[in-house]
Symmetry: D3
Subunit: 281 residues, 6 copies
Amino acid sequence: MSNLSGPFLSKDFIGAKADFNSSNIVLLGMPYDCTCSNRAGTRFGPQGARLESVGIETYSPYFDKDIDEDINFFDAGDLEFPFGNAQKALDITKKNVDEIYSNGKKLLGVGGEHLLTLASVEAVLKYFENVAVIQFDAHCDLRSQYLGESLTHSGVMYKIAQLIGYENIAQIGLRSGEKEEFETVKKYNTLKTKKEELDCFKDKNIFLTLDLDVLDPSLMSGVGTPEAGGFGYVELIEWLKYLKDFNIIGADIMELAPDIDITKVSSATCAKLIREVLCIL
Amino acid sequence: MSNLSGPFLSKDFIGAKADFNSSNIVLLGMPYDCTCSNRAGTRFGPQGARLESVGIETYSPYFDKDIDEDINFFDAGDLEFPFGNAQKALDITKKNVDEIYSNGKKLLGVGGEHLLTLASVEAVLKYFENVAVIQFDAHCDLRSQYLGESLTHSGVMYKIAQLIGYENIAQIGLRSGEKEEFETVKKYNTLKTKKEELDCFKDKNIFLTLDLDVLDPSLMSGVGTPEAGGFGYVELIEWLKYLKDFNIIGADIMELAPDIDITKVSSATCAKLIREVLCIL
Amino acid sequence: MSNLSGPFLSKDFIGAKADFNSSNIVLLGMPYDCTCSNRAGTRFGPQGARLESVGIETYSPYFDKDIDEDINFFDAGDLEFPFGNAQKALDITKKNVDEIYSNGKKLLGVGGEHLLTLASVEAVLKYFENVAVIQFDAHCDLRSQYLGESLTHSGVMYKIAQLIGYENIAQIGLRSGEKEEFETVKKYNTLKTKKEELDCFKDKNIFLTLDLDVLDPSLMSGVGTPEAGGFGYVELIEWLKYLKDFNIIGADIMELAPDIDITKVSSATCAKLIREVLCIL
Amino acid sequence: MSNLSGPFLSKDFIGAKADFNSSNIVLLGMPYDCTCSNRAGTRFGPQGARLESVGIETYSPYFDKDIDEDINFFDAGDLEFPFGNAQKALDITKKNVDEIYSNGKKLLGVGGEHLLTLASVEAVLKYFENVAVIQFDAHCDLRSQYLGESLTHSGVMYKIAQLIGYENIAQIGLRSGEKEEFETVKKYNTLKTKKEELDCFKDKNIFLTLDLDVLDPSLMSGVGTPEAGGFGYVELIEWLKYLKDFNIIGADIMELAPDIDITKVSSATCAKLIREVLCIL
Amino acid sequence: MSNLSGPFLSKDFIGAKADFNSSNIVLLGMPYDCTCSNRAGTRFGPQGARLESVGIETYSPYFDKDIDEDINFFDAGDLEFPFGNAQKALDITKKNVDEIYSNGKKLLGVGGEHLLTLASVEAVLKYFENVAVIQFDAHCDLRSQYLGESLTHSGVMYKIAQLIGYENIAQIGLRSGEKEEFETVKKYNTLKTKKEELDCFKDKNIFLTLDLDVLDPSLMSGVGTPEAGGFGYVELIEWLKYLKDFNIIGADIMELAPDIDITKVSSATCAKLIREVLCIL
Amino acid sequence: MSNLSGPFLSKDFIGAKADFNSSNIVLLGMPYDCTCSNRAGTRFGPQGARLESVGIETYSPYFDKDIDEDINFFDAGDLEFPFGNAQKALDITKKNVDEIYSNGKKLLGVGGEHLLTLASVEAVLKYFENVAVIQFDAHCDLRSQYLGESLTHSGVMYKIAQLIGYENIAQIGLRSGEKEEFETVKKYNTLKTKKEELDCFKDKNIFLTLDLDVLDPSLMSGVGTPEAGGFGYVELIEWLKYLKDFNIIGADIMELAPDIDITKVSSATCAKLIREVLCIL
């Protein structure tokens, strides 16, 4: 970019390729956090993960793949949002995700609050039929409204269910919600506790959405609403390994709030998860 | 409240009276922070100030008054807002502030983001003529919009100027803004650097709005957008002393973000400032 | 309380009822921390848990109960103690706990240092016979003195044993203590590692005391003396589920030191545990 | 001490001599903090200052002295106190300070809470007549009791006044206290705002007590009760320079709470102040 | 860069132009910190300043210039260094700085430890005669060696003096060093306390080096060796304003350690200083 | 040491004996951190562990031993290193470790960066034949160079393998490294996942090296390069218990970076691990 000889550290996520056109996957930062009901701060999530990515290896021993050598992804950077207007943030996100798929590539979104997954799924539905969403999350996210607002990070799966039906939703790691949300979960049997329960989705086009609070807050303290009793890292990896052979057409990793996690363990762990998800996309 | 004999610590701001009706001043928490452009977190401001108030004395040596003995104020607690909808937050605020003045009392708002001052001023205008606003702030807050949104904490004074005119606005401590904002400041001569420049407001009904970032971030790090080069505490007190004999009909102290300030010095200092402003209300 | 229309956030623990008289359980804050031998700070524990309770749900999926709808508890607030005088703190605590039971209600104490459990148990013994204490803790707390002082948080179970006998004490999660303390544990067989070992207490009146450091410091860093090797959250929940059918006449959750835990994960987890213990009281 | 050749870092305060007998000044750590009314943590103060002393120079450009070359002091380490018993802590302190003076040396105490200054002054009074105390502090510390306790860090100067009379007390930097305390200050004219007001103490034997919260919390956030509006470092140095020619027979620097100050700026600044006070002892 | 429509947040310092060739100034990150004697962490300095730059305005009210509109600078990113080898880091730095000047542009270095200024000055000397260095710093940095090592951040000005002579060095803000260093300062009269003392450098080619610890640690806690008694922000700005008409041929702003400063006030203040120095380059 | 009667807190690790000559084990601090590739700060590791040791018990319930009563160890303090020169740091370390073994004692090193283990092993090889190294670590540490430097903490096991052969290396807990490193691991079968795989080392002289990042960062956040998916504390203890009957001739516990871990849980856990390793040395 400059005439200097360097060497220079990259400003992109580690292992990213410089060329959009020849890449297969686009990492897209979605730094929005205005509808979260507890602590904000996920607007700094994508940049936090990017920065800590220099501390991880490009090689994943879990998947025996190297995201530098074996994966071809482009880091598009972070979208810019007007704060305080959720609908505009959704519109901007949907438009850019649409452009990723219209270019024949897959999305790896990095958030930012979970509400934006709604925009990604809406964009994807234009390009794929038979779509199912697999959600890793501590929270049901099935509220129809929160304090009178319908666009909220705690209702994103309710909105998605309106689009694809509850039968196309699998929820993993749930441990927090209102009584009514858990009744919905029970009614539609969306909660999956064994990997084989996902097998019915093997012929579907899967959008994978990972709310980082599915991990236990001992490891992942950098989220707005920590919920004790979550997965350990290896437990989550086992689920991802099981999904390796599914037809994953897009994914996002949401809700990193790096300022809360001042040891940066959450950001470093998010960076590793981005690496692992790149391996199965 | 209970049948227990205690003694109990109060859940209110130190020195507050238990009775709304016989009080003269109502401390009202306004925990909203959704339009801020940098770090969020001011939604925890009022509670942060309340908690740290136990560490300060009720007696102010600067004003030789004791807020427990000499001032009669009620702590109404914190309003509850739907996140992500600025207009609703303004509506709720305006309605409650209106009720304070309809009961013949004065407001001491504690924020929360600066945008809400707009609602307080709107409510006050129903009860008073000849209103002027004196603003302590690092930022001009004179933008007509921010990334396309007109309701934003960086445009609150622009909105207020539409209501009362620039000639009724005094700005103290400004040191950050866009070129255009500073041109407006110059055009209308709103920036005051000497206390005597305020004398023309002596016959006005003054609403005092204090954005905590007017203080230097060395002391007040717990704000979303710290700007070096601000006031020291004593410097601010000197201004407040000068205002002692003005006709202050309401006030707010905005933009405390206690999570950022992990030493709690910002919250403790905000609690002290609440004490001082109570002394001049 | 005021004439304002709000809506207002509660200053109480989430789901608490406003009326003492019609409640069955009284949540009582015990913010004392003067005999702790390592880091202090548990004096801010009850308020820390109360504040973070806004981030949890009132519904517990573990017990399928909602503390707002299904449980009737009152949040009495925090006692006020003179610092530096342990005996006075015990006296104040005992008097207030006595009043809770004289009103036919149960205590849920929130600490504050573990020593205060002594006062609660002493108060309870006036109203119940056949009392046993089940203690979750990393530390034996069986010292007869610490640096010459007999009133100390590391000796609370020794003091209680003098009152009810070692045969009425069950200790769960122990992993730290002096050689002599572990010899006492062995001698009286107080350490329980399997749930069924508690069955002999089924016909007793159980006082449940939960020192938060029984949890691993990975999750519960906000305690004065963190001890690696502790329980995960689900492991602790399993024990609480087992106790669901026991006759629990009172409980406390002690030793939260929120300032140490700057991510607030400890406070949020403590708030959740308060919810779970409310479900089995 | 060992047979290893090293080189080793010292465990003592930088520049301290290894030999007690040939030293003139004894640095004595007083890690007690049980009567403080707000945040505790000063028990870690002496060790915090010692650790950060490696980051400062032994040479003071303010006094043109080097504490390694020009001053002969011994670092005795930290006393061990039983927590929760203020009287015992005072007794232990008094006994050790007595031994310092019985050996013909001067004390430089490092705290720990301000109450312990009472023990130091009591010890000194056995060896000197005509003693005056010069106190740098944000707080008056003139309460006769606090919540019913007479031994408290907020009453240490009241206790000392009983011993030497208010006419032998000079207070510098006061900006917080109860109305009654400030009335006492006024009555006895103990507050000094100009250096020349100290001249009447020139023929006295001065014990210098420095509560670190005299400094503004922007610089010295690591104290239990931060009070905005305090001295800058240079302002304090100017006072110390003025005292250079006074007959200072002992000193202490109290109330450092290093855990609160996670940037360690407070500890480093305390270490520098120890250096400066060594230069005028 | 991509085919996406965005809008996207920039990964560069705010206001930077995308084109190296047409720019006049090159901002170059120098993330090295291996010879620092106290806390490390300045290797994250340039990225910390870049990230926080989104929170500042591009317009400087102090210089009435907008770095977006009025200044033409390019952000080259951060050099990559092998850790543990100071000479290689100097070589890489010198080579890249040389390339900046060979392209007819000026350097604005952002560190990173102060030692690297040696490489920048060496590079500059190839292109300019009559070079003087104006240093803002708390520390003299005049040691010929530190624990046996000659390449160290506390000796950078000694090394530079060997190149250009002490008569071409001005030091501002000094308040820490060994006795010998201050003797050198006195001998060569390098310390300047009044702005007019710089006038003799008006006909020189000035390289301006700013160690952030020249600011008081109350504001600038994010440095490895904080030294109380430093400049306030406005005081430093006054010096920079005085230098506006000097012939500044290059500059650097060194020693930001953002991890230490968890409120990010230091990083935000560094970003502002970068803006101000861009205005006078 | 002084003539004062105390009682005094020790400046040594808890339970250490004051006499070098009669001790069997020497705890040696190795505070060096200049080649680490991510966050630095392990130079404060030994002192961090020492300070937090006051919060643990001297009795280990896991090994039923008391390091005060049953173990005879001396705390030699921390070596002093010139920063920025890795070879000198290795030389100083090797010389001192040599002196420990020449006095017939065993080393327990506390780091500091992992590179220094190379010096310890080199020293040990002079006194023992048939040496094997058992490494607990998240990282392979098998790089021949890192950015062109061969002396680096990520290559320490490569260097050791050159000395004793890969067949004498056992690696436990690995989960991060370059593809090439994992190929070496596979080729030489150095990774052990079952305790019995260590039995072939029963007749060897074992040097035990424990990089703290083998523990999961949920518990051990205070390391430069946290890697999710690590051991829990009990899991690590089980391995140490298995090693109890092996012939361990020396050990080190490396890479504690206490500043990162502001809750101090990492330092406290490191102190406990030092206790456990003392029990099996």
